[in-house]
C-alpha cells in the first residue's frame, strides 16, 4: 500500500473524529502537481505527514499546530511567513476539533426534542435510562442508547472532559444517584432539570449520606437548567437547554446580541 498522503491522513482523521491540523500553502502560481505539494498534516498524537518545503517553516507550523490542538477553542487562520529569499508565503492552518458528547439521563417524553435537536446540531448524543420501552432507537433516532440503571453507570457510561450532561429522570432518587455519578466526573457541564428547591433537597440528602461536592464540582452544575427564555413546552425547554450548552461550549454568556459590537468572540 502506498504511503498515506497528508491530505488523505487529514480526511481519515476527520472522518474518525480525531482532532488534527492540516496546513496548506496558499499558492496560485501553477497547477498543483499533486494534492501533496505544500501540505502538512499534524495529528493530536504528534504524527506529522508532508512537507511545506522549508525546514524552519515545517518546525514553526508543527509548533503552532500543537499549540492550537492544546487550546480549548482553537481558531483556524492564515499565517504569513517571510522566507530566507524574502519571498512571502501564506499558510492556512485548518484546525479540526471533533464534536462534543451530550449524555441525557432520562428517556421521558420531554427528552425526545432534546435528543432530536442535539443530533441535528451534530453533538454525539447518548440517552441513558433503564426502561427499554422508553429508551429505544425508535424514540431517539441518531442517538446512542444505553439501557441501564444507576448500578450500571460506572461500567457502561463513559464521561470525558468534553462530555456535556443533562439530568432529567423526573425521579428524585434517580436524579440524586445520577448527580453523584456525573459530578464526580470531568464533565464541564451538568444541567439538572427542575427548580432550585428540588436541587437543594437532593444535595442536602446526598450530604446526609456523606457525599459533599467541592466548589469546583458545584460550579459545573447548572440548575435550574437552561437559558431564561420563558420556555414552557418540551420543545421550547429543549431549545433553552441546548442554547445554554452551546453558550458554554463556545465560552459565551448567553443573552441578547441586541446592540453588541461583536457577534463572534474576539
Amino acid at each position: 500500500m502506498a504511503k498515506q498522503s497528508a491530505f488523505e491522513a487529514w480526511l481519515a482523521s476527520v472522518e474518525a473524529e480525531k482532532a488534527c491540523v492540516l496546513a496548506t500553502i496558499l499558492q496560485t502560481e501553477s497547477p498543483l502537481a499533486n494534492q501533496e505539494s505544500g501540505r502538512m498534516f499534524i495529528s493530536s498524537e504528534g504524527v506529522t505527514i508532508g512537507d511545506l518545503g522549508d525546514k524552519t517553516i515545517n518546525a514553526k507550523i508543527i509548533a503552532l499546530a500543537n499549540q492550537k490542538l492544546s487550546e480549548k477553542k482553537p481558531k483556524s487562520e492564515t499565517h504569513t511567513f517571510v522566507l530566507s529569499d524574502q519571498q512571502e508565503i501564506s499558510i492556512f492552518i485548518d484546525v479540526y476539533i471533533p464534536p462534543v458528547d451530550l449524555i441525557i439521563f432520562g428517556a421521558g417524553h420531554d427528552a425526545i426534542p432534546v435528543a432530536n435537536y442535539s443530533v441535528s446540531l451534530g453533538l454525539r448524543t447518548t440517552v441513558v435510562d433503564s426502561r427499554a420501552f422508553y429508551n429505544s432507537e425508535e424514540r431517539f433516532p441518531g442517538a446512542k442508547i444505553i439501557v441501564t440503571n444507576e448500578d450500571g453507570y460506572h461500567e457502561k457510561v463513559k464521561i470525558g472532559n468534553r462530555t456535556y450532561i443533562i439530568v432529567m429522570n423526573h425521579h428524585l432518587e434517580k436524579d440524586q444517584k445520577t448527580l453523584e455519578f456525573v459530578l464526580n466526573s470531568q464533565a464541564p457541564y451538568v444541567g439538572l432539570l427542575g427548580p432550585r428547591s428540588r436541587r437543594d433537597r437532593m444535595l442536602d440528602a446526598l450530604k446526609e449520606d456523606g457525599i459533599v461536592f467541592s466548589d469546583n464540582q458545584l460550579s459545573r452544575l447548572f440548575s435550574p437548567i437552561g437559558l431564561d427564555i420563558g420556555a414552557s413546552s418540551p420543545e421550547e425547554i429543549a431549545i433553552s437547554i441546548l442554547a445554554e450548552i452551546i453558550a458554554i461550549k463556545n465560552g459565551h454568556t448567553g443573552g441578547f446580541l441586541q446592540g453588541a459590537e461583536y457577534i463572534h468572540n474576539k
Binding site: 496560485t28 497547477p31 498543483l32 494534492q35 483556524s76 487562520e77 492556512f92 485548518d94 451534530g122
Partner: protein, 106 residues
Amino acid sequence: MQENALVYKALAKTKEIQKKSALATVVRVFGSAYRREGAKMLIDEDENRTGMISGGCLESDVAEVAKQVIESGTPVLKMYDMDEDLVWGLGLGCPGKVEIYIEPVS
C-alpha cells in the same frame, strides 16, 4: 450540523469514486461574516455543491471559479470585498471582507 460535517463526507465520496472536484475554504475574514475561517464548500465537476462558505452571498460566484479550477488544476485565492458598491448593488448585504482559497481535489 457540526461544522463542515457534510463537506467531509462529500469529500470522501468524491475521492472514492474519483470525481474531479474543487474545495473552497474561507481562509481570511476581515470584519463581520456569516461563516468564519475554515468554513468549506465542495463543488464537483457536475456542479453539485455541498456546504456553505457565506450566508448565500458568494456560493454562486465561487462555484463559477471552481469550474475553472477543476479545468486548469490551478488553485485560486479570491478576495471578496462585500462593502463594495457593486456587491451592495446586487443587494447581497453581507458586510465584511472574505478571502477564499479554491483548490482542485481528485
